[in-house]
């Protein structure tokens, strides 16, 4: 083969590579290469920027020479070259990448598979003693299974098992098959003559190490039958140092913060692949407290530190070597709303169930959740148990607010894995409170919209032992929740309510074809719902239904939520992307603090948004929101006053703009042209009636409007896509708010549409009661329509 390649005159290129590349079509080859390169980048180990540009150029050329050049370039990233021969025998060779691993870290490589015969079986590439410690996976083989179990071998003492393993290998983008009774992660060969996949290798240890890597191709008909070949690889495992962290808040007190650490090659450290809780595979950042540590090999690092949207993101470059083993972070705030009495909370967080928890675990503990919530500077985090993970996570429900120490939830695994970082408490830990509650998602009623039930005392619906036995529509669940003092509302309200129009208000009837505030429009007429949740969907779709409901005279809060980590953008997975600010006399701590927070949320002493705009004061004729209505004897102008602060970077980084692109609520969307200004709008009965421009430089600024009020009305302020206040209600002449016939008609039409779309999903024996509840809503909206004077 060498002689043949030489005769063909393929210079510099490895002969085996040249021989194969001459026969491959460029389009499928580059499509596959591009995916492999994207996988490396997604895992925090991108190829060099220059090489990425070169691959893009070669892809555009799209000929055999381009394939040859790409092969040569990719050889430097390739750990192993595998050959699947015509007789189905397999062969493993060393690739051209430097076989350097990192103690306590993951390194990613390409694996090249030559498959000239075009086989399309499943293949696996693994260490000879492959196992997956510290990993949980969905139980059962059915796609419908929602149970969970630990993925470790069936043994009581797992530590000796783990202690023997110094190397883990994991192919990317695998699907499991049962082979010899075990679930084996495999890739499905495409049949291309050459294809690349990504392998991740974790070294627990440092120094020179040797391991045998094995390539297997499974038989089509019998998954237990395979052709395989193994080869020994020598690795140089770089020593990692335990780097002490100093993390101080803006007030000089120790705290917990979010740190994103990249090496000079742009690799995320600790690597995102296969992190063990509390570090998550879907986040580039890790959360660390003052006095804790990270493991890093010698080198130069770029460190970004922050603690939620009230802080400025800070960057520093640090060299790590024998004499530099410490990183100090001093956080900087641009605003502290707590000084005005506003305390932030995210009412929609999950500790399990989203696909993002498949690695490293299927669910995490309160000790992990509280670390993430503290690291984003939230005072309150509502951790909601939902369908996937329900039976496991319900153990953490106590009916009380908690603020646990942010300890490691798998200390034995960490120890066996030679991960020696110790957790540390900080003086600010008590400033963050968790409450475990429920989201009714993945339940029989979920077609009617997902409910968020806060401050539950009891989490099992009467008579229902299994999820499948819960009601198939929402009102009974809301009544049960309210009967125990819960505060209840609808999650991600825009989902299924988005229409073509982005006008506010608009009168298009949504399809109600998804999981937003569907039945809310009925339930509000029964006094059973306290809030809708937004800040994680298109603003117009979130606000339109809310405005129409308020125009009918109902009192309903809109709260900010994230639905972490289910609805987070790819580049900004964190709690508190959407958040509510609730006004209190003092910081909410313990049960009494949590009760005060949710009660004031229910009363409407709140604003919500992305945390980058703040309505620190808001009053109409000196009456603040969440207090008694302002009463006027007759129509007259009112004075609207507020103190508003907002933050926009003068020159936003490309990363910040990329994040904003994926977030519906992000102050970047409010930026006026290329200025640093945002519009502050006065909203009366759902219509923006006045607007002023404000510099978003973080300075709290007083603003004022004068607005004529002709009838009982609601008045709010907003910075579109960044923040919105709860309204102040104005009672004119003792009449209820009946702001718009068209709003009432919209609600009435939605009831009909909802019945058409949702009633088929209700159980037959519940449909009569549901029909009566819907009919009640129709009657209420008909009555309100008749009471409205204005169209």
């Amino acid at each position: 083969m060498l002689a043949l390649a030489g005769a063909l005159g393929t210079l510099k290129l490895c002969p085996a590579l040249a021989q194969a590349s001459a026969t491959i079509a460029a389009q499928p080859y580059f499509a596959n290469v591009k995916r492999a390169i994207e996988s490396l980048a997604r895992l925090g180990a991108p190829i060099a920027a220059e090489d990425a540009r070169r691959i893009a150029t070669l892809e555009r050329a799209g000929d055999a020479a381009a394939v040859d050049s790409a092969e040569q370039l990719l050889e430097g990233y390739t750990l192993a070259r595998l050959s699947l021969n015509g007789d189905r025998s397999v062969h493993v060779e060393l690739g051209g990448a430097r076989r350097t691993l990192v103690e306590q870290g993951w390194r990613m490589f390409l694996v090249r598979i030559a498959n000239p015969s075009g086989y399309t079986q499943r293949a696996a590439f693994s260490t000879d003693d492959l196992a997956a410690p510290a990993r949980m996976r969905p139980g059962g083989t059915g796609t419908r299974s929602r149970s969970q179990r630990a993925g470790l071998f069936d043994t009581v003492n797992t530590e000796p098992l783990i202690a023997r393993m110094w190397l883990l290998a994991q192919l990317c983008d695998t699907s499991p098959v049962l082979s010899a009774g075990l679930e084996m992660p495999t890739i499905l060969l495409t049949g291309l003559p050459i294809e690349y996949c990504v392998i991740q290798l974790f070294s627990r240890d440092q120094g020179q190490r040797r391991a045998s890597l094995q390539f297997s191709v499974l038989s089509d008909s019998d998954k237990d039958s395979r052709d395989e070949s193994a080869r020994e690889f020598d690795f140089d495992c770089l020593r990692s140092r335990s780097i002490a962290l100093g993390v101080l808040d803006a007030d000089g007190r120790a705290c917990l913060a979010s740190l994103t650490i990249k090496d000079k090659a742009g690799r995320i450290c600790p690597p995102m692949a296969m992190r063990i809780a509390p570090d998550m595979a879907f986040q580039p950042q890790v959360y660390r407290a003052d006095g804790e540590s990270v493991c890093l090999p010698d080198g130069e690092y770029l460190i970004e530190s922050k603690r939620g949207p009230e802080y400025l993101s800070a960057l520093q470059t640090i060299g790590i070597d024998e004499s530099h083993t410490r990183i100090d972070v001093r956080l900087q705030r641009w605003i502290d709303p707590a000084k005005w009495g506003w305390y932030s909370g995210d009412t929609h967080l999950h500790a399990a169930g989203c696909a993002h928890y498949e690695l490293p675990t299927e669910g995490v503990s309160p000790e992990t959740m509280v670390r993430h919530v503290r690291g984003e500077g939230l005072a309150i985090g509502d951790v909601l148990t939902w369908g996937p993970g329900y039976y496991y996570q319900k153990q953490f429900f106590s009916g009380h607010a908690v603020s646990p120490a942010a300890t490691l939830e798998h200390p034995k695994l960490q120890l066996a894995n030679n991960a020696n970082w110790q957790t540390r408490a900080t003086p600010k830990d008590d400033e963050t409170t968790l409450r475990y509650d429920m989201e009714i998602s993945g339940f029989p009623s979920s077609h009617a919209g997902h409910l968020v039930l806060l401050r539950l005392r009891e989490q099992s619906y009467p008579g229902a032992k299994l999820i499948e036995e819960w009601p198939s529509w929402n009102l009974p669940i809301l009544r049960w929740a309210k009967s125990q003092g819960s505060i209840a509302g609808y999650a991600h309200c825009s989902s299924g309510l988005e229409v073509d129009s982005t006008e506010l208000p608009n009168y298009e009837i949504p399809a109600f074809d998804s999981i937003g505030a569907n039945e809310c429009i009925i339930d509000v007429t029964h006094g059973a719902v306290d809030f809708m949740s937004g800040a994680n969907g298109p603003p117009a779709a979130e606000l339109n239904a809310w405005y129409h409901i308020l125009n009918c005279g109902f009192r309903l809060a809109m709260v900010g939520e994230t639905d972490y980590p289910c609805i987070v953008p790819p580049d900004d997975g964190r709690p508190g992307i959407g958040r509510s600010y609730v006004r209190l006399e003092q910081r909410p701590v313990g049960d009494s603090g949590y009760n005060a927070w949710v009660e004031n949320l229910q009363k409407g002493r709140l604003y919500y948004g992305d945390g980058r705009s703040h309505f620190l004061e808001f009053a109409v004729n000196r009456r603040s929101n969440g207090h008694d209505d302002l009463t006027l004897d007759a129509p007259q102008p009112v004075e609207v006053t507020a103190t508003v602060a907002a933050w926009l970077a003068s020159n936003p980084s490309s990363e910040a703009l990329k994040v904003a692109k994926h977030e519906d609520w992000n102050i970047e969307h409010a930026r006026i042209g290329n200025t640093r200004e945002v519009p502050v709008e006065l909203v009366v009965n759902g219509t923006a009636v006045q607007q002023l421009r404000m510099v978003a430089d973080g300075t709290p600024r007083p603003i004022a409007f004068t607005a004529p009020i002709a009838q009982s009305s609601w008045i709010a302020l907003r910075v579109m896509a960044s923040a919105h206040t709860y309204p102040i209600f104005v009672d004119v002449g003792g009449k209820p708010i009946r702001a718009s016939k068209r709003s009432a008609r919209w609600c009435r039409a939605c009831v009909d549409k909802l019945w058409e779309v949702k009633s088929p999903f209700m159980r037959e024996n519940e449909r009569t009661a549901a029909a009566a509840a819907f009919e009640h809503a129709r009657n209420v909206y008909d009555t309100i329509t008749g009471e409205c004077e204005l169209d």
């Binding site: 499509a31 291309l192 696909a355 993945g442 077609h447 989902s495 399809a511 639905d563």
Partner: protein, 155 residues
């Protein structure tokens, strides 16, 4: 002569209508047969409406250029989603490749079948990525809402 022309036109229209109807019925029957075949692609819509796609069967080794390749799709709908499920070619979409997927809304039932039709026009191998998304739904964060298909066609 006019009535002869009119008759000829009527016969032509009838024949054309029959042919169209026949094609349509044939297509429908083929579709129904395909729907009842084992799915090659499985789409799971989780309770939060996130979509993940996986290949669950062997793709045909080759097809005729210009003729739609019929790929049965199984949809597991855990989110009661009744929005249309849309399919689109990611990157590399060109006149050489087209994808058709039914645009009618999902039923919301926990399982249903659809047919994905892929037409290749350029002879040889093509590697295409098809992304699925419930209309106005949330895209998946981990790229699980897309599937890669290596298909070949010959003239």
């Amino acid at each position: 002569m006019r009535w002869v022309s009119a008759l000829a036109l009527a016969i032509f229209k009838l024949a054309h209508a029959y042919a169209e109807d026949h094609d349509e019925r044939h297509e429908l029957q083929a579709g129904q047969r395909s729907e009842s075949r084992a799915a090659l692609i499985r789409i799971v819509i989780n309770p939060e409406t996130r979509i993940s796609v996986s290949r669950v069967g062997q793709l045909p080794s080759t097809t005729s250029c210009g003729k739609p390749l019929i790929l049965p799709v199984e949809i597991v709908n855990q989110g009661f989603v009744t929005a249309p499920l849309e399919a689109s070619v990611v990157d590399g979409a060109s006149e050489d490749i087209s994808v058709e997927f039914p645009t009618q809304p999902l039923t919301g039932r926990d399982e249903e079948r659809r047919i994905l039709r892929v037409t290749l026009r350029k002879p040889g191998a093509s590697d295409i990525t098809v992304a699925f998304r419930a209309r106005r739904g949330f895209p998946d964060l981990g790229g699980r809402d897309r599937i890669h298909l290596l298909l070949r066609c010959s003239p």
